[in-house]
């Protein structure tokens, strides 16, 4: 069982990202689950989304999880929310920030000794898609860190998931995924 927790703000596309990832993984024959905590969330409110991946049907519907990966797609959430809750020693963090990994850990001692990767998904999204929607770049970074799939396979799959969007937007998302894949450290 692979478990992922997303930290996001409502409106940044974490749910779409989690469902998109689930969609791609499902085509490879694995079982998937993607869900979120909504509450009465307003646009901009901190929220979490989740993925589960397994070789067998996923029957567990508890919301509690000790994630293998934590994705933080809004830079401020690494500072203002408890992104290390329910941590395990093997948990990997991929965090959106303009800082280097060293600078971020220095600024956030709770990340000391943890497996932290950084990438500036906001800037990448702004420069490619033209809007601060950091979900698809995060998935590009995840492909690099996890080596789950070949990046070309992943991009082809995401083209299908993004399906009915205008071609220009799909192309921009592909650039965003590739840039995050190349830039995550």
């Amino acid at each position: 069982m692979l478990e992922i927790r997303w930290h996001s703000r409502a409106g940044q596309g974490a749910v779409t990202g989690a469902k998109g990832l689930a969609d791609v993984i499902s085509t490879t024959g694995k079982h998937v689950q993607a869900f979120a905590f909504y509450g009465s969330a307003k646009r901009g409110a901190a929220m979490t989304a989740y993925n589960r991946v397994d070789d067998k049907v996923i029957m567990n519907h508890e919301k509690y999880m000790k994630p293998d990966y934590v994705f933080v797609i809004d830079p401020a959430l690494a500072i203002t929310t408890d992104i290390t809750i329910n941590h395990k020693d093997s948990t990997k963090y991929i965090i959106t920030t303009h800082m280097s990994t060293e600078e971020l850990i220095k600024a956030q001692p709770k990340l000391e000794g943890k497996d932290v990767y950084t990438v500036d998904c906001i800037t990448i999204a702004n420069e490619t898609i033209g809007r601060a929607i950091p979900n698809t770049p995060m998935l590009g970074a995840f492909m690099k860190v996890s080596q789950m799939y070949d990046i070309e396979f992943f991009k082809e799959s995401m083209k299908r998931v993004l399906g009915k969007l205008p071609q220009k937007i799909i192309d921009a998302n592909m650039l965003a995924i590739q840039r995050a894949f190349d830039e995550v450290k």
Partner: protein
């Protein structure tokens, strides 16, 4: 046909709402009248979008309240159309008057009830308060534990409800957010397969049949009211369960997916078991398997059909078990829980003298964790070892503050 078909993948990653909306599209529902409410909104929104995109030949009516939504559904069903809608929580509460009209008028409307807590305090998350609130309304109630079942049970519900021997409305329940907004792999049928399974809608006593004028929604006083209600109850008690079994069997032939009135998991030799509904059933199954590895013979019983109550199947499922936990995701507000009472009533005249205890859990979407269920199975085993219920009969799981226990 004047609408487009949709190419689906064999397995689509859909949440429970999407799965239900796709089933409504494939059933080619004629009329959806709705007043959208969280967390059921994407179902009617999905129907409206499919309609606007040319995938359905039908009508979508946005009305001014849930009371009006079900009223419009009743009108459309009486006129002779295939009709469905969706709601949750407060919406169902406002709809409740008209639910009794629909069942009394024998109109086979399909309602997707995405289970959500009832205010106050206001809460959009999942529990079974709304499902329980209208359990005496004369509607058939199915319960989906995951998105796949939301899809399947919608297709099944049309077949059961619309059968001319049945002619009763049906609710398909799914857990708000935990199922409705959780995306999982859903095995799909092609549009042609699904429509062939549901079948063409065959109206009965339809008001638009001007050659055969009929009256719907009449007044009867003490002269006939009781006979109408008794016959409605009779059909629920006598005809619906065999029909559901027949449609489940046909569905299994088509898809290989087998449904039962009461879903048993590892119950053949179980000493202890949890009885519950909704997504909790699946989590409990996973924990039951883990308990077996620890030497506790655990099983799970899930109610697939909540109304009519599958009385004989409950007795059969629980035969021989030594301790039962009845889990209710709704505050009984001054009584034992509903499942506790249903099980006690079913077993009372049988030889099964299991130790029965009730638990209230998960109100307003509070998480039911595997750790909770592990502790619960251990508690049931302790009851078996002691030969009596070692706790009070009603406890709460997962609530903060001092421990609450009653009865």
């Amino acid at each position: 046909m004047a609408f487009d078909k949709m190419e689906l993948q064999k397995i689509e990653v859909w949440d429970g709402n999407r799965a239900a909306a796709q089933a409504l599209r494939q059933a080619q529902v004629d009329v959806v009248a709705a007043y959208p409410i969280t967390p059921s909104t994407p179902i009617v929104e999905g129907y409206a979008k499919f309609l606007a995109d040319g995938y359905i030949e039908g009508e979508f009516a946005m009305v001014e309240s849930e009371h009006a939504a079900m009223s419009a559904c009743i009108g459309a069903a009486a006129a002779g159309g295939r009709v469905a809608t969706a709601t949750s929580s407060q919406g169902l509460a406002l709809m409740s008057e008209t639910l009794y009209q629909a069942s009394g008028m024998r109109l086979p409307i399909i309602l997707n009830l995405v289970n959500r807590a009832l205010a106050s305090p206001l809460n959009v998350n999942g529990d079974h308060s709304d499902m329980y609130m209208i359990r005496d309304s004369g509607w058939i109630q199915f319960d989906a534990f995951c998105p796949q079942e939301s899809y399947d049970l919608n297709l099944i519900a049309f077949r059961v409800a619309e059968d001319h021997d049945i002619r009763l409305p049906a609710i398909v329940n799914q857990d708000g957010f935990m199922t409705s907004h959780t995306a999982q792999g859903v095995h799909t049928l092609s549009d042609d397969e699904a429509y062939a399974f549901v079948g063409e809608y065959k109206p009965m006593n339809d008001m638009l049949d001007f050659e055969h004028p009929v009256t719907h929604g009449v007044q009867t006083e003490e002269d006939w009211h009781f006979e109408h209600k008794a016959r409605q109850h009779n059909d629920l008690m006598v005809k619906v369960i065999p029909k559901i079994k027949e449609v489940f069997a046909d569905f299994e032939k088509l898809t290989g997916r087998k449904y039962n009135l009461v879903e048993k998991y590892d119950m053949d030799d179980a000493d202890v078991c949890v009885v519950c509904m909704g997504s909790s059933v699946e989590t409990a199954r996973e924990v039951a398997t883990e308990m077996r590895a620890k030497g506790i013979k655990a099983g799970v019983v899930g109610f697939r059909v909540f109304r009519p109550i599958p009385f004989a199947e409950i007795i059969d499922a629980l035969k021989g078990v030594k301790a039962i936990a009845a889990l209710d995701r709704s505050s009984p507000n001054g009584a034992a829980g509903t499942l506790f009472n249903e099980i006690a009533g079913a077993l009372f005249n049988t030889d099964t003298k299991a130790l029965l205890s009730g638990y209230v859990y998960g109100l307003g979407g509070r998480d039911l964790t595997k750790a909770h269920l592990t502790a619960l199975f251990n508690e049931l085993q302790a009851n078996v070892d002691a030969g009596k219920v070692t706790t009070q009969l009603q406890q709460f799981i997962g609530v903060r503050g001092p421990k609450l226990a009653y009865l």
